[in-house]
């Protein structure tokens, strides 16, 4: 039993190995890029927007409102990164309905890469939101004695972000595997439906936690020492 899609090697040439995780990740990236390019190309300013336009607008406005509610303004500046995280993970979860597809988030490599991207984005976007001095200032807040703990928490929450997403995706595929062996045909379908919901909730949580981290890094400090 393959624990992660990393073990499924599709193509190998010398040191270059393409496993299932890389292939599906690039597939999703291509799908999202070509899909949005092809869809937005047909958008023109006319009286009645098309169905696709309205559907995409719902998604984009929902993401913008969520970012705005956390306190990041203007939300459009943070949308490219935080929105892409959600769109990538949500489509990775949604594509589970395709037979033979294994979500790239059930590989620790993918989730670690995303968590590292969040780890790097927090200082960059956080200093954009509140200034670089303010970002550095939140490390020595409320007392400079807590500096090591702030640095430690930066690292541990990145690990937690990666392992949480990986564990959720892994547990879903494990439960489906166990259900297939003891009660095939009907119960795996129910578990897959549950997994679809869990995948979406995890995509939302991952993007939301990244948003909260960025907002915390750029937070305006009132009445500090």
């Amino acid at each position: 039993m393959a624990l992660t899609p990393d073990d499924v090697v599709l193509w190998r040439h010398g040191w270059l190995v393409v496993n299932q995780t890389i292939a599906t990740t690039w597939g999703i990236m291509g799908l999202l890029t070509l899909g949005s390019w092809g869809l937005t190309r047909s958008f023109t300013r006319r009286e009645s927007p098309s169905l696709w336009w309205q559907s995409l607008e719902i998604v984009v406005i929902a993401m913008r409102d969520q970012i705005r509610e956390v306190g990041l303004r203007p939300a459009e500046r943070f949308m490219p990164f935080l929105g892409t995280l959600f769109l990538f993970l949500a489509s990775a979860a949604l594509l589970t309905i395709v037979p033979g597809y294994v979500s790239p988030s059930s590989s620790l490599s993918t989730t670690t890469a995303l968590a590292l991207a969040v780890f790097l984005a927090v200082p960059l976007l956080g200093s954009q939101a509140g200034g670089f001095r303010r970002y550095l200032g939140h490390f020595v807040e409320p007392v400079p004695l807590l500096l090591p703990f702030h640095i430690l928490s930066e690292v541990t929450r990145t690990v937690a972000l990666a392992v949480r997403l990986f564990g959720n995706a892994l547990s879903e595929s494990m439960v489906v595997g166990i259900m297939l062996t003891i009660a095939p045909f009907f119960f795996p379908v129910l578990v897959s439906l549950l997994g679809l919901v869990i995948g979406f909730v995890q995509a939302y949580i991952f993007a939301m936690l990244a948003t909260v981290y960025v907002a915390a890094a750029g937070r305006v400090t009132e009445g500090g020492p």
Partner: protein
């Protein structure tokens, strides 16, 4: 029973214990969180969007403890470093 057998026994028993004991705390915590959130929504239905968002983020935090236990149980059973040469 040889050494590999004992490693297998210890790993499997520990994996079960990890999952079973490790799920108690997060389960109680999630129950408390959801109960409080439901009460808060019942008292202030207008704030349900904010309450739901905070609930989801909090549940993710609480749940990650159980997820760590699950990952460690999986490592013990499927990717045990002390069980390199499987007979």
């Amino acid at each position: 029973m040889n050494e590999h057998g004992w490693v297998a026994v210890a790993s499997i028993v520990t994996a079960g214990l990890t999952m079973g004991v490790g799920a108690i705390g997060p389960a109680l915590g999630e129950g408390r969180a959801i109960a409080s959130a439901v009460m808060a929504i019942a008292q202030q239905p207008d704030e349900s969007a904010t309450i739901t968002r905070v609930l989801f983020i909090g549940l993710a935090m609480v749940e990650s403890i159980a997820i760590y236990c699950f990952v460690i149980a999986m490592i013990l059973v499927f990717a045990n470093p002390y069980w390199a040469a499987r007979p």
